[in-house]
Amino acid sequence: MSTLDVNHIDAAHGQLKAVHGVSLNVAPGEMLFLLGANGAGKTTLLRSIAGDHRAYSGDVSLAGADISALPAHLRARAGLALVPEGRRLFPQMSVRENLTLGAATARDGPWSVDAVYDAFPNLARLDRSPAGKLSGGEQQAVAIGRALMGNPKAILLDEVSLGLSPAAVDLAYAALAKLREMGLALLVVEQDLSRALRTADALIVMCEGHVTLRAKPAETSLDALAAASFGHIEGEAA
């Protein structure tokens, strides 16, 4: 059974339809990459799944339970975490305070501030620093740690590597690989197609709100992913 099941999500910004009937599912310990150019509807899809944006039709199930009718804070408490684009930390609060806010889901599980510091050793010495003073990579680590503090079953990550140095991106993906081993379901939005091809268990490409390609990394190529990002659907494989 999948951890995250998304069925026929339609979402719009006012008159502008941003997501057209997209379905996907992510199994425990699976890392699904969502690719596509700017404006393809990836962020809107993620926000609709997390309840931050109201989809006007479609269902979302988490570990078999339908959470479509729940507002964002109850979806978080059900075990669905979103690491938003731009990280959205609380800049004046310390690293520890930001992490502790993540525990507002009141879910049981292995994660604590110390466990996050074990997973991201570079954060431990920044414990009392205001989050706004951190580098991009450190902020991304805090944002992922904050999501983990809620002991989620599935994590949605928007634009993980945006604005980060190559070393920081490697660190972030090393952490995600550990989470995959722990059996979390991961849905990752990424602009770097070659990184996605190397890392993913499965790939979905979107263009203008539609899915243009679904594939396993072994079945596809960089060229096919790029073509699908620009709307060519002849390469569809699933």
Binding site: H73, A76, L82, F90, L101, A104, T105, R146, G150
Partner: protein, 290 residues
């Protein structure tokens, strides 16, 4: 002269007590609560009923009224504010204006137009005074009010910085959507904050009548605009500036008291809006922590 300065500081303490709730509510919920003054008057009537009619000692009365106002704040949030705030920036202002009118007239209906005072409940406190060197006398009650406002601001700031509830309130205030994504029930957090504010709204200074709320609101609003709602300590500064402006103008001309305050308020409005477009955020400097 010294005596006027001391009295202005003490008056500023009173305005800060009034303004703290208004500023806090704006920071957390982005709502300018036009019923704030009326709620203070309502709390004062409740204290009066408990003390005068039921002979409950004032400290016990304060605890009871604080609890009741907390409940009223939560109820007000669920019944009016939460719904109204979905309708944009202006609707909650109109809604709280409506609440103020209803409560003012209900109070008038129940208690009549008599001015009443809590003075009989506190013995000689209202006219007792401390003697300072140089034969200066300052009213004890004014000193206690200044201390109360500093303690109130200190406690609220401490709560915001060092408790889980405070961090949730800050998160809700700064970025409601992200707070919700972390599993924070932003509506409940805001309702608790409203309750806390309503509970701290109390008056013990002068005699009041059923329609005193709007005057309290006016001074509170002026203090918040002069100081900025960003930090509660800035509200105290704003309240002191307002009190100094009023006292200074009163010493120039006997009728100058209110005009001096309004001039300081207008100067602050022009300074704050200079170069920025008109918006409440520009006017009040948002965010619990600046």
């Amino acid at each position: 002269m010294t005596s006027q300065i001391i009295n202005a500081i003490l008056l500023g303490g009173y305005y800060a007590l009034l303004a703290t709730g208004l500023a806090f509510m704006y920071s957390v919920m982005r709502i300018i609560n036009l019923a704030h003054g009326t709620l203070i008057v309502l709390a004062a009537y409740a204290l009066w009923v408990l003390g005068e009619r039921l002979s409950i000692p004032l400290p016990a009365g304060i605890v009871v009224v604080a609890a009741a106002m907390f409940a009223l704040g939560m109820a007000l949030h669920h019944a009016v504010l939460a719904r109204a705030s979905r309708g944009g920036e202006l609707l909650p202002i109109l809604a709280t204006f409506g609440v103020a009118i209803i409560l003012d007239n209900l109070i008038f209906q129940v208690f009549g137009a008599d001015s009443i005072s809590l003075a009989p409940l506190v013995g000689d406190l209202t006219w007792a005074s401390f003697e300072l060197p140089g034969s200066l006398f300052v009213g004890k009650i004014s000193v206690y009010i200044l201390l109360a406002s500093v303690v109130q601001i200190g406690l609220l700031e401490w709560m915001l910085r060092h408790t889980g509830l405070g961090h949730r309130i800050q998160a809700t205030s700064q970025d409601r959507a992200t707070a919700a994504l972390l599993g924070i029930d932003t509506a409940r957090t805001a309702a608790i904050a409203t309750g806390v504010i309503a509970a701290t709204a109390m008056g013990l200074r002068a005699a009041w009548g059923p329609y005193s709320g709007s005057v309290q609101l006016l001074f509170a609003f002026e203090a918040v605009v002069i100081g900025g709602a960003g930090s509660l300590w800035r509200v105290l500064t704003g309240a002191l500036v307002l009190a100094f402006a009023q006292s200074l103008a009163a010493s120039i001309h006997p009728q100058g008291f209110l005009i001096g305050g309004h001039l300081a308020f207008l100067a602050a409005v022009f300074l704050r809006l200079r170069g920025a477009g008109w918006s409440f955020t520009a006017l009040l400097k948002s965010g619990v922590r600046a």
